[in-house]
């Protein structure tokens, strides 16, 4: 399967995503510089974590205007898979490919630590290898991870089963204490209506090898691979 990893100036998790996809999961990846205007044909695009344009002004605010984003949008509209991790999630929100915005953590601190998130729906190409309600241990690493959207939007997300991950306790409870950044309703990740675009704040690529403390994050990539197989089985 072919992954395109979009590299903005200031991105820094592109090599980690590449490492996991190639060395842990044996897939092909290419790094795509943000100034590209056309994309090769990729099964899945990844917008990695980091600090695109230094996070200046607002996270993702400037990156969304990068030349490559028009191609990313076309890929998404065509139903192609797009995974935004951390800063990538912030870019997707600014670009309008996902609803809402990510604001400064209520702790007023950058936070790098393991958290627990609960899979709220397995009905996405990114979670179909998980079971609904499954608790994953995956690290976060952000200063602006507080998910916000107006009530109507949040209601719609819930109604359409678009809330994909919530911050929970190790036991699976979405308590306030389990919410590291003040996100609305403990929301850690959402998908679009077409369910082919996912954004999440936690870093699955940092939890893909037991050696590093958790391999739960591998499930997201495994899901993508599985959905690709079923897709190719059923002719488009």
């Amino acid at each position: 399967m072919r992954f395109g990893i979009i590299v903005f100036p200031g991105s820094n998790c592109e090599l980690d995503c590449r490492w996991v996809l190639e060395n842990v999961l044996g897939q092909q990846t290419e790094l795509v510089w943000h100034k590209e205007t056309a994309l090769g044909d990729y099964d899945c695009l990844i917008l990695p974590g980091g600090f695109a344009h230094g996070d200046y002004l607002r996270t993702g605010a400037i990156a969304r205007f990068s030349p490559v984003m028009a191609a990313v949008e076309r890929h998404a509209r065509r139903g192609g898979l797009v995974l935004g991790i951390c800063n990538g999630f912030q870019v997707l929100c600014e670009a309008g490919l996902l609803p809402g915005a990510l604001l400064r953590n209520t702790t007023m601190h950058f936070l790098c630590r393991q958290v627990h998130i609960r899979v709220e729906t397995a009905a996405t190409p990114f979670t179909n290898a998980c079971t609904r309600g499954q608790v994953l241990r995956i690290p976060i690493n952000h200063n602006e991870g507080r998910y916000y959207a107006d009530e109507a939007t949040v209601a719609r997300l819930t109604a359409n089963d678009q809330v994909v991950f919530r911050y929970v306790t190790a036991g699976g409870e979405p308590t306030e204490a389990a919410n590291p950044n003040g996100s609305l309703q403990n929301i850690a990740g959402i998908c679009n209506e077409g369910r082919n675009v996912l954004g999440l704040m936690p870093h699955p690529e940092r939890a893909a090898e037991a050696l590093l403390g958790s391999a739960d994050g591998r499930l997201l990539f495994a899901s993508v691979l599985r959905s690709a197989r079923t897709a190719s089985a059923t002719p488009r």
């Binding site: 100036p9 820094n12 100034k35 600090f51 996070d55 601190h109 950058f110 936070l111 050696l211």
Partner: protein, 744 residues
């Protein structure tokens, strides 16, 4: 100010440039005439303590600097260590104490930026940072402000520039209230056969200026770092620089990309004394001359004089020499990252540093004169009159604690010992997915992608020990750093260091310095860990009051196999807990004396380096043989604290312990004394025989203390008894620092 009129060089002006009469006369001899204003500025920064090491040079030369693994010792931008498989580790530590006191956030941030540039200058990708910090007591709001700002700056810059801060240390003492220490270590990975050096070679080759534009930032920063603080420091504030981690990230990528071409001849970061220092150091190393035209330098501000352009310390700038004819290659790569890349001069054969302002020559100085002929001082030293006084310690006058459990909790809650999670959680410590053992253990352990092995890094330096006995303090800084690396499963191989001291023109300070260096050199010799580089920060004084002499050691270790990575936390209930080494009555200079008795007194524990070496060999062999499941050295707080940390450092798996500590010593010494060369390990009962055999071979005493298990910390002796729930220990240890910063 009009670029054409420069102030006349008067005695007042010379003094303002902190050049002594003798130094000025030397300048006149070197030039064969009086210097111009610009030349005066250039000499003053190049001959500042910060750039010239004039007071420390002769002593640093006593460090062992060579060994089978050392590819590059002191003298370049950073040291280089051979890791095998064609891999090389590039590492160095740098201080930014003075700027961080003046503006904690930006001071610390630009310190991080500076040390990172030293590393990728060598052709290495920076993959890890460690920070060694010292502050005054946190009950003072000003110290909380300083610490919050410094940690914020390291977090803000380090995270955004994309280099994880994987470890470090923070210690607290009154003497740092008006002079905090901010030492940052950076590690990079390079191919051993693809290293780059700061040499200006090839007469006629173009000299490129790349990176951010030049403003009036930090002019005289270098001389500032070489002066004692006083009330007037406030006035120097405008020299503060602002860091731009985004631009530095682009600079890293652009330079590493350029290094994959064949265009690059030499490259050097613009750090202290900016364009001046970088250009003449490159010429000096290359045995050439350099000519630059300040008119061509990209600027951020109007009307800058040649003097300002040459001395500006604007951040995120590099100077590089390219092969003639490759100009377009260089410009192309930097354009891709939207960075300036401008030819500002060329390499010459005349051995001169020539600065033009268009057609006008504003400085013309023999490079040899600036660098090789810089003043070197063997400053007078005197053992302070008060040294005997602070070493005197009458144990009989010190009452035993009524409640040993309470004493233990006070130690665990002492900010120097307490959990530093509130600090390291603000740092991205996972980027590059190498962090096998992150902050919170004795050393950090990183895997080497594509290789079997890994590397370990620790930073250590106990200023209180060094204050009480500079020689022993120097020895322990090295020995403990090596021990921290060993208990993590690695073999210590090389050292970088940062020497933080007071005013070297005071004989007492200079004595502390020479003694500490003597101790460090002896330890590096004995432990076979050569010094590959470092940094000296003098004048850490405010209004005549010096900090504790504080040598900080950064130790690099190598793991043959990543599976050797070991942590302090117990791994399972029912394991045996064993002490390697012997406890003596070492209360002098201990955290216990300070925390429980308010005393900074006595002689710090002495170290027999042969014993130290044997215990380290023993522990490492036991780890490699898979005999021990956890290992933790005894440092601040002694055996009791080490045992408590074994129970609680793993937040997901607290495991209790039940031990009794045999011995004839007074109980507080037994529990809280800081005898060196001791390591606590835990192991399966079945493996005790194998451990014993290994220990016997190394002549290391083994004492079985007890067993892991349960949810309490139980420690019994003839005359004392501690029985505490892990929740209580955890609250004391984990809750302490965060309480000080709750309002934030």
């Amino acid at each position: 100010m009009n670029a054409m009129v420069e102030p006349a060089v008067t005695d007042a002006l010379i003094a303002a440039h902190s050049l002594t009469r003798e130094e000025y006369d030397r300048v006149v001899v070197i030039l064969g005439r009086a210097p111009t204003y610009t030349e005066l500025g250039i000499f003053s920064v190049m001959w500042s303590e910060h750039c010239s090491y004039k007071s420390s040079k002769v002593h640093l030369q006593t460090f062992p600097t060579s060994g089978p693994r050392i590819l590059q010792g002191p003298g370049e931008n950073a040291g280089v260590v051979d890791l095998g498989d064609g891999l090389a580790a590039v590492f160095k530590v740098e201080s930014h104490n003075h700027p961080s006191y003046i503006e904690p956030y930006q001071g610390a941030a630009t310190g991080v930026g500076g040390i990172i540039r030293d590393i990728f200058t060598m052709g290495a990708r920076p993959i890890a940072l460690l920070d060694s910090l010292r502050f005054g007591p946190l009950h003072e709001a000003r110290n909380r402000y300083l610490m919050g700002g410094v940690v914020g700056g390291i977090s803000g810059y380090g995270n955004a520039v994309g280099v994880p801060t994987v470890g470090g240390e923070v210690l607290f003492a009154d003497c740092y209230s008006h002079n905090p220490l901010v030492n940052v270590l950076c590690l990079g990975m390079a191919q051993a056969d693809k290293l780059f050096f700061g040499r200006a070679g090839g007469i006629g080759n173009p000299v490129f200026y790349v990176g951010a534009k030049t403003g009036r930032d930090g002019i005289h920063g270098a001389t500032m770092a070489s002066e004692t603080f006083d009330e007037r420091s406030e006035e120097r504030r405008p020299t503060v620089q602002v860091g731009d981690p985004f631009r530095e990230k682009l600079l890293i990528e652009a330079c590493l990309e350029l290094m994959r071409t064949d265009a690059l001849v030499g490259i050097q970061d613009m750090g202290a004394a900016g364009l001046t220092c970088s250009s003449c150091e490159m010429a000096s190393r290359g045995g050439t001359g350099v000519e630059v035209d300040v008119r061509l330098v990209p600027r951020r501000e109007e009307g800058m004089t040649p003097y300002e352009v040459m001395l500006s310390e604007s951040q995120e700038r590099m100077l590089l020499v390219a092969r003639r004819g490759t100009e377009e290659v260089v410009r192309g790569i930097f354009a891709r990252y939207d960075l300036d890349a401008v030819v500002v001069g060329r390499v010459t054969g005349d051995g001169l540093m020539r600065v033009r302002d268009g057609s006008r020559i504003v400085a013309e100085i023999p490079v040899k004169g600036l660098v090789a002929e810089a003043p070197v001082y063997r400053r007078p030293t005197v053992r302070p009159a008060w040294q005997d006084e602070v070493q005197r310690l009458d144990l009989d006058a010190i009452p035993l604690p009524r409640d040993y459990g309470a004493a233990l909790c006070r130690l665990l809650a002492s900010p120097s010992i307490a959990c530093k999670a509130t600090v390291w959680e603000q740092y991205d410590h996972m980027l590059f997915v190498n962090t096998v053992v992150g902050p919170g253990a004795d050393a950090v352990v990183l895997r080497l992608k594509g290789a079997e092995g890994g590397i370990a890094l620790a930073m250590d330096g106990n200023g209180r020990y060094t204050f009480l006995d500079p020689f022993i303090g120097g020895v322990i800084a090295v020995a403990e750093a090596a021990r921290n690396v060993v208990v993590s499963g690695a073999e210590p191989v090389a050292v970088t260091n940062c020497l933080n001291f007071g005013d070297p023109t005071r004989p007492e300070i200079m004595w502390q310095f020479t003694e500490a260096v003597r101790g460090m050199a002896a330890a590096c010799q004995a432990l076979q860990t050569p010094v590959t580089g470092g940094n000296v920060s003098f004048y850490n004084e405010t209004t005549g009051k010096a900090i504790f002499p504080t040598p900080i050691v950064g130790m690099l270790g190598v793991l043959g196999h990543i599976s050797h990575a070991t942590t302090p936390a117990w791994k399972a209930a029912g394991d045996l807990v064993v002490l390697l080494g012997e406890s003596r009555e070492d209360l002098g200079g201990s955290e216990y004396l300070q925390v429980c008795h308010g005393m900074i007194q006595g002689r710090p524990p002495t170290v027999d380096l042969e014993t130290e070496r044997r215990i380290q060999r023993c522990c490492l062999e036991a780890i490699r043989a898979g005999v021990v499941r956890s290992a933790h050295d005894c440092s601040e707080g002694g055996l009791a604290v080490a045992l408590a940390e074994g129970c609680i450092t793993d937040p997901d798996r607290p495991i209790g312990v039940e031990v009794s500590v045999p011995g004839m010593l007074r109980p507080d010494a037994l529990l809280f004394g800081e005898t060196q060369s001791r390591i606590v390990v835990s192991l399966r009962e079945a493996d005790l025989g194998r451990l014993q055999a290994i220990a016997d071979r190394h002549g290391v005493p083994v004492t079985a203390l007890g067993r892991t298990g349960g949810s309490r910390f139980v420690c019994r002796g003839r005359t004392y008894h501690i029985d505490l729930s892990l929740a209580v220990l955890d609250q004391a240890w984990r809750g302490s620092l965060s309480a000080f910063f709750r309002h934030r």
